[in-house]
């Protein structure tokens, strides 16, 4: 039986179409995925992301543990509440998961990991934890409120939250009582991710609803993140994929003298593939695993969809390293080859379309 978040009954009551996602019963949409997508780009929508796992790391060795475990450098985190996006790699340099680390003190961090990888992430962290306490926080729910009006509507819904979070810059978080308010997300829009004691998740959700934040499902979450050029674990990268190939070189710190798991392999490897965006110029819909034909060889789409913001199809694709932005390539869709332009993601951020063909 699939797992349920503290908001399961709320989704059912709101007419959510429930589907299995990484072993969790989650809302795909509440009527129209496309309308929910537009709502987040233009106003504010909220997602239940309680299936993701918060893991608190506490103890004197927490900083050193993260130095070893993740490919980005936690030394970049000096201000309490600062967040960092990173990959956690296996010894072969493949991606075990991508995650966000929040820094509170050198002996206290919170790591937020994907639902489908939570068990193996925990195992990996514990294997290296030593004296650091590793605390999975299934007692917390997480609601992502996203969109240009997301912050204002969150403040209207939660009295006192504005004073606690109005000064937050992107990728920073602050405590509001026992709620963590983070100015982060997975949509390419402004907004918050709220980490809330599970018992208050429904009341918080209902307060947001009353403030005019409409629910959005995993379907819209996927089209929003793809427009924003953000990779999805398990689809755009996995344990066989180097972050350098997956378009995540910017998150890998190879310069600092510290060692981390997978570093020696990444440092020595020649990069033969790269991840770029595709914009379909013909009519149709790009999908994962479709083959891409370029003048420099074959590639493959890792994520593809119809972009509601652009009203055409977009994709992330793994392409030969010599392919350049602006090139025209062909994608095999069923028995046809359709033309697409290679672009640099993101496609859409903060409500604005950033690429053209």
């Amino acid at each position: 039986m699939a797992k349920q978040t503290p908001l399961y009954a709320t989704h059912v009551r709101l007419g959510g179409k429930m589907v299995d996602f990484a072993g969790w019963d989650m809302p795909l949409h509440y009527g129209s995925q496309v309308e929910e997508h537009h709502l987040v780009r233009r106003d504010a929508g909220m997602f239940d992301v309680s299936h993701m796992l918060d893991i608190d790391l506490e103890g004197a060795g927490a900083h050193d543990l993260l130095h070893t475990l993740i490919a980005n450098n936690v030394d970049k985190l000096t201000v309490p509440g600062r967040a960092l996006y990173s990959c956690m790699l296996n010894p072969q340099g493949g991606v075990i998961d991508d995650l966000i680390v929040y820094f509170f003190r050198p002996d206290f961090y919170r790591v937020v990991v994907n639902a489908g990888t939570a068990d193996k992430d925990l195992a990996c962290i514990r294997q290296h934890a030593g004296d650091v306490q590793v605390k999975p926080r299934r007692d917390l729910a997480m609601i992502a409120v996203q969109g240009p009006n997301a912050r204002a509507k969150t403040w209207a819904a939660l009295p006192g939250a504005e004073a606690a979070s109005s000064g937050l810059k992107p990728f920073h978080a602050a405590w509001f009582g026992d709620v963590l308010i983070a100015r982060t997300g997975y949509t390419g829009e402004d907004g918050f991710e709220l980490m809330i004691p599970a018992g208050r998740a429904e009341a918080t959700w209902n307060a947001l609803l009353a403030a005019g934040v409409k629910p959005a499902g995993l379907g819209a979450r996927d089209t929003l993140r793809l427009e924003a050029g953000m990779p999805l674990y398990g689809q755009d990268m996995d344990e066989q994929t180097s972050p350098l190939v997956a378009g995540l070189a910017w998150t890998v710190d190879l310069d600092a003298p510290r060692d981390f798991i997978g570093k020696s392999v990444l440092a020595g490897r020649r990069i033969e593939k790269q991840t770029l965006g595709l914009l379909l110029t013909d009519k149709g819909v790009l999908r994962a695993h479709q083959k891409v034909f370029t003048a420099q060889g074959e590639g493959e789409i890792t994520s593809g969809t119809f972009s509601p913001s652009m009203n055409r199809s977009i994709a992330l694709a793994r392409l030969p390293a010599a392919v350049a932005v602006g090139d025209t390539v062909e994608v095999e869709i069923r028995d046809k080859r359709l033309k697409a332009t290679v672009v640099k993601p993101p496609f859409v951020r903060n409500g604005k379309i950033l690429v053209t063909s």
Partner: protein, 124 residues
Amino acid sequence: MNVPANLKYAKSHEWARLADDGLVTIGITDHAQEALGDIVFLELPQVGRKVKAGEECAVVESVKAASDIYAPIAGEVVAVNQAAADAPESVNQDAYAAWLFKLKPDNIAELDSLLDATAYQSTL
């Protein structure tokens, strides 16, 4: 779920309607459009193509996935609904108005092998 009594249905969720001119209009059911979600692209067959019963001959793509459409009976494609292809969301709005293609049937009696509304409803 809307399942009009005057249509015939395939288990694969197409509907078929015989008109006075002997042509059979094909579309997807309300159940199918609902299951697919927001429809964004239709790939319709070439006019003049001969299809067998059960042959893949069109594709309906929603944001979520691509879904093959099968010819419920054998025949020749004599018309496609370009208006629906230009506005794929019309299939979500009214799956029985936004038809996909019309067939000149090889054998009209083949329609009898399809499900009636009650029988189709019981498969849902």
